[in-house]
């Protein structure tokens, strides 16, 4: 049987109790926690032609110093590369770790240390998606960079979708999925 109604409601109450504490703890650690996804976002940005030269973090804001190198297009005059700075507020993407920890603490023992570590690692690393797409969205919204980026409409649509996914769904969905995956007893159906 999956978790009983009483068990689920008890879990919800305990998670509600833990959440303010884990959110507070996350907030104080958020600047440090943003380091991993910000660093991971840099190579992801490279895939879109944004050469990240530096990543600095201050007060939860990741500042990417990058160079945009226009792709070579035969028969079209080459556009000069451009240096840009993009700032991304990481806290709106990294708070999911607090939800994951609150749910894990609410689930109670026995904790499987390895599983919890994997879940925490996933919820810390996954905001790289949101950070990368936020940076790309900001670049795509600057009309003057259009000739340098030379992104076709399909790529711009993909960036818009990736940004929406990364800002509206992933921050809260990823920790919940990680928690459910690590606690199969909660969803196990009838034998």
């Amino acid at each position: 049987m999956p978790a009983s109604r009483r068990e689920v409601l008890g879990l919800a109450l305990r998670a509600l109790g833990w959440l303010p504490l884990t959110l507070a703890a996350w907030y104080f650690a958020s600047a440090a926690l943003a380091w991993v996804p910000a660093k991971l976002a840099a190579p992801a940005l490279g895939l879109a032609g944004v050469e990240v030269r530096s990543v600095t973090l201050a007060d939860g804001v990741a500042a990417f110093g990058a160079r945009l190198v226009p792709p070579y297009r035969p028969g079209i005059a080459q556009v000069e590369s451009v240096a840009v700075d993009v700032d991304v507020k990481t806290r709106t993407f990294t708070f999911g770790i607090a939800l994951f920890v609150a749910l894990t603490l609410a689930t109670g023992r026995p904790w499987r240390a390895r599983a919890v570590a994997i879940g925490a690692a996933v919820t810390i690393a996954l905001p790289a998606w949101s950070i990368a797409f936020d940076a790309l969205r900001q670049l795509a919204s600057v009309a003057a960079l259009g000739p340098v980026l030379a992104w076709p409409p399909a790529v711009r649509e993909g960036i818009a979708f990736g940004y929406q996914l990364g800002s509206l769904l992933l921050p809260t969905l990823a920790p919940v999925i990680a928690w459910i995956a690590l606690n199969p007893r909660l969803t196990r159906g009838r034998a």
Binding site: L11, L16, T92, L173, V176
Partner: protein
């Protein structure tokens, strides 16, 4: 998921996860399209209007215009944007219910009750943020960007966990797994 159970019977957690991801991405993509936005816009305006009605029931200070909820006394206004109308949490819940082995009747009931649970909490979110924003902007930002986001998703997952318990209990009482045709 290894082991016994409905998920194992119908191909396991892996297939559930694949179905869930596909349904969720399809619903989310639809939400962002122009036809989807023709539904989201009026719904968001309805949320603003319902929030204003709720506040008016207590102090008569609030009014709504489109997706904006504002105070007639202080002039403070909040615009209900994507992510604050409860739709994304509802999509997650719908995808979770469509991906889980159940009858269409069970899914319809689960979606209806779950949507109400999410939207009721979302109204509490909007109203609380309306007052919080007039009291302290820093706490408003904190509650808006982090706390309520987590709470709404927590609401969705708790509703889903209660629903799968209900579905599995009913299935067990009926003496077997739901029919294959009932799976998404």
């Amino acid at each position: 998921m290894p082991g016994s159970g409905v998920l194992a019977h119908n191909g396991g957690m892996r297939w559930f996860a694949i179905r869930f991801a596909l349904v969720l991405l399809a619903l989310f993509a639809f939400e962002l399209t122009p036809p989807g936005q023709t539904l989201v816009g009026p719904w968001t305006a309805f949320v603003a209007s319902a929030s204003a009605g709720l506040v008016q029931a207590f102090d008569g200070d609030a009014a709504a215009r489109g997706i904006v909820l504002y105070s007639q006394k202080s002039g403070f206004a909040v615009a209900i944007q994507a992510g604050c109308n409860g739709i994304e949490a509802m999509l997650v819940l719908v995808a979770g219910m469509l991906a889980y082995p159940a009858t269409w009747r069970q899914r319809a009931a689960g979606i209806a009750i779950g949507a109400m649970a999410i939207q009721a909490l979302n109204l509490a979110r909007v109203v609380s943020l309306f007052y919080l924003g007039q009291w302290n902007r820093e706490w408003f930002e904190w509650a808006h960007l982090y706390a309520w986001q987590a709470l709404i998703m927590l609401d969705a997952v708790i509703v889903w966990l209660l629903w799968i318990r209900h579905v599995d209990t009913r299935g067990a009482a009926a003496g077997g797994p739901p029919p294959a045709g009932a799976t998404a």
